[in-house]
């Protein structure tokens, strides 16, 4: 389980994350929502130790981040951020094989190769596995990075805007894949996604943030309501039910 206590992040005088205490339920797809600058990305960066925290504690399976051995921790949690710029030439397969680094330190075993094959077919990347990353479209590149995280095979997965650059078809493919990871392999996946309808449709649990604080949290049907959304976004959002799933109409 991942838990944070009084988590604070500030850059100089500016506080971007203010006293966030959270208990993230296990084996769920958890979505972070909120306006730009609410602190969602900062929060998941802190919880996955990519960015050092200013104050507070983060516990992964009841052990504080600093007490974890870095390599062991990378077998428990993984994170994929939004901007991924590469300065080296890599094929899709080579990129994905980096996901096995915590286990094999660059010397791939037979088992590693099997897991890489699985990650490739999980996102249907088999036929482009020997293409170079810099020749791919933005969407394919994003899929390759997600496959790397899948190959890392961690219990907890943080994804910062995984649907960036993706068309509807790829977005749905990814969300279905993530759903499968949660339902079949009992992983805990934490995502920051801006499209509220993707969250309403696929996520189990939602954490809503505003101005560096958590303003509300709960199961999807508790959060995706007119009142809560008004508080978070300051907009009147019409919530309809289509086939038993909430759909937000925020276009006017």
């Amino acid at each position: 389980m991942i838990r944070s206590e009084n988590l604070v992040k500030s850059y100089g005088e500016k506080v971007v994350l203010n006293n966030v205490s959270l208990n993230l339920p296990k084996g769920k797809m958890i979505a972070f929502i909120g306006a730009n600058g609410a602190g969602k990305s900062t929060l998941i960066s802190l919880m996955s130790r990519i960015v050092p925290k200013t104050e507070g504690c983060v516990y992964v399976d009841n052990k504080e981040l600093q007490q974890w051995n870095n390599n062991e921790l990378s077998k428990r949690i993984s994170i994929l951020k939004q901007s991924n710029h590469l300065n080296i030439r890599l094929t899709v397969r080579e990129l994905i094989s980096f996901g096995r680094f915590p286990y094999s330190k660059g010397r791939l075993t037979k088992k590693d190769n099997e897991i890489i094959d699985k990650a490739l077919s999980f996102l249907s990347l088999d036929n482009i596995q020997h293409r170079n990353i810099d020749e791919l479209s933005g969407g394919q590149r994003q899929m390759a990075y997600i496959a790397m995280i899948i190959a890392q095979d961690t219990e907890y997965v943080f994804l910062d805007e995984p649907l960036n650059n993706l068309d509807m078809r790829h977005s749905v493919q990814i969300m279905k894949g993530l759903r499968k990871l949660v339902d079949e392999m009992n992983k805990t996946i934490m995502v920051v996604i801006h499209d509220i309808n993707f969250i309403a449709y696929y996520s189990d649990y939602i954490i809503a943030m505003k101005d560096g604080k958590v303003v509300s949290q709960g199961y999807t049907d508790e959060i995706i309501t007119k009142e809560v959304l008004k508080e978070i976004y300051g907009m009147d959002i019409d919530v309809q039910s289509v086939n038993g799933k909430p759909i937000c109409l925020y276009y006017n």
């Binding site: 850059y11 996955s48 130790r49 990519i50 050092p52 870095n70 390599n71 062991e72 921790l73 990378s74 077998k75 993984s78 994170i79 994929l80 951020k81 991924n84 710029h85 590469l86 300065n87 080296i88 030439r89 890599l90 080579e94 980096f98 996901g99 680094f101 915590p102 330190k105 660059g106 010397r107 037979k110 190769n113 020997h130 890392q152």
Partner: protein
């Protein structure tokens, strides 16, 4: 995994061919340099001297290659080489200070152990101090460090220009010998000491290559994959400082070679693996240096310094690259 093995060979065919070509040129110019004009009468005199020059070239080639390739990895930038940290400027500053203040013993001070150890020691202390002071804060990033290095480098550059103006022409001519890289006056004993120091850094870094491979994905990916990013970067900066200091103190300002070698390596290698990239860079720099040394000594009879030749070849290569890129 024969399936992958075939792919690997197919993918790296070009690299393997170019490596074979470089090896051929290296062996050709190397043996020409070693054996041309050798007779049974003069061999006892020339051969050991030529051999130690080749050894110096290989040593410096390794220092420049390792430091340039890994420096680009840790800075995540294709254009930077360790020369941006101002090592050459600091070296020239140390030499200028020595000439200015060593009085009667100038010539003795300019060569030999004292100069070598003073230069290496001061350069290493300065860079370690800079790294430890600037890289310790939690929010500091490596560009802050580089920028400071650049500023300090130009400070030393300015100071040495100022002091050089105050020198009399005789003193300046002594200093001038130190301002260009040269493999001619490499001291046999210093070469051994340097080789030992470099061997120690090789032992210390022998397991680092897979970690550097991960660091080349960028800081966030490296941390995510469980690499202690700051430790890898700091260690690498320190090793770079040691290697650059040794090679500079041994043969003079040589970091100009880095950008050329690392660009050629990037152009001709298709792998991201540091083991292969460092080996290729080493092969490239040795080939360049040995050929340039052969040309300087035997063809141009010392009328052009080795750095002029290498920069000339490098300049042509870069113009070729620009023209080719423009067409594509």
């Amino acid at each position: 995994m024969p399936r992958y093995a075939m792919e690997v060979i197919k993918k790296h065919k070009k690299t393997i061919a170019i490596a074979a070509f470089f090896t051929f040129v290296l062996l050709l110019t190397g043996s020409l340099f070693l054996f041309q004009g050798l007779t049974t009468k003069n061999a006892y005199f020339f051969f050991p001297r030529r051999l130690s020059k080749i050894a110096a070239v290989l040593l410096v080639g390794y220092c420049v290659s390792y430091s340039s390739v890994t420096f680009q990895t840790i800075t995540n930038n294709r254009l930077l080489t360790p020369s941006i940290m101002g090592f050459d400027a600091l070296y020239l500053f140390i030499q200028t200070v020595i000439v200015m203040f060593s009085g009667q013993k100038k010539i003795a001070m300019m060569s030999g152990y004292t100069n070598f150890f003073v230069s290496v020691f001061v350069m290493i202390i300065c860079s370690f101090g800079l790294f430890l002071i600037l890289f310790r804060g939690r929010e500091k990033n490596i560009y802050f460090l580089l920028l400071t290095g650049t500023v300090i480098g130009s400070l030393f550059g300015g100071l040495s220009s100022f002091m050089q103006v105050l020198l009399d022409p005789h003193e300046f001519s002594i200093l001038q010998n130190k301002m260009f890289a040269s493999f001619n006056n490499v001291n046999q004993n210093l070469l051994q000491v340097s080789a030992i120091l470099v061997a120690v850094t090789m032992l210390l870094t022998v397991r680092d290559n897979p970690y550097l491979d991960v660091v080349s994905l960028g800081q966030e990916h490296a941390v995510n994959l469980g690499v202690n990013y700051r430790r890898v970067v700091l260690k690498n900066l320190m090793v770079t400082a040691v290697l650059v200091s040794i090679s500079t103190a041994l043969v003079g300002p040589i970091t100009f070679l880095g950008i050329l070698v690392v660009s050629i390596t990037r152009k001709v290698t298709t792998t991201y693996k540091h083991t292969a990239r460092i080996a290729m860079a080493f092969l490239t720099s040795s080939t360049l240096l040995v050929s340039a040394m052969y040309l300087t000594e035997r063809v141009f009879k010392f009328s052009a310094p080795i750095s002029v030749l290498i920069n000339f070849a490098g300049g042509i290569y870069f113009i070729y690259l620009i023209l080719k890129e423009r067409k594509a």
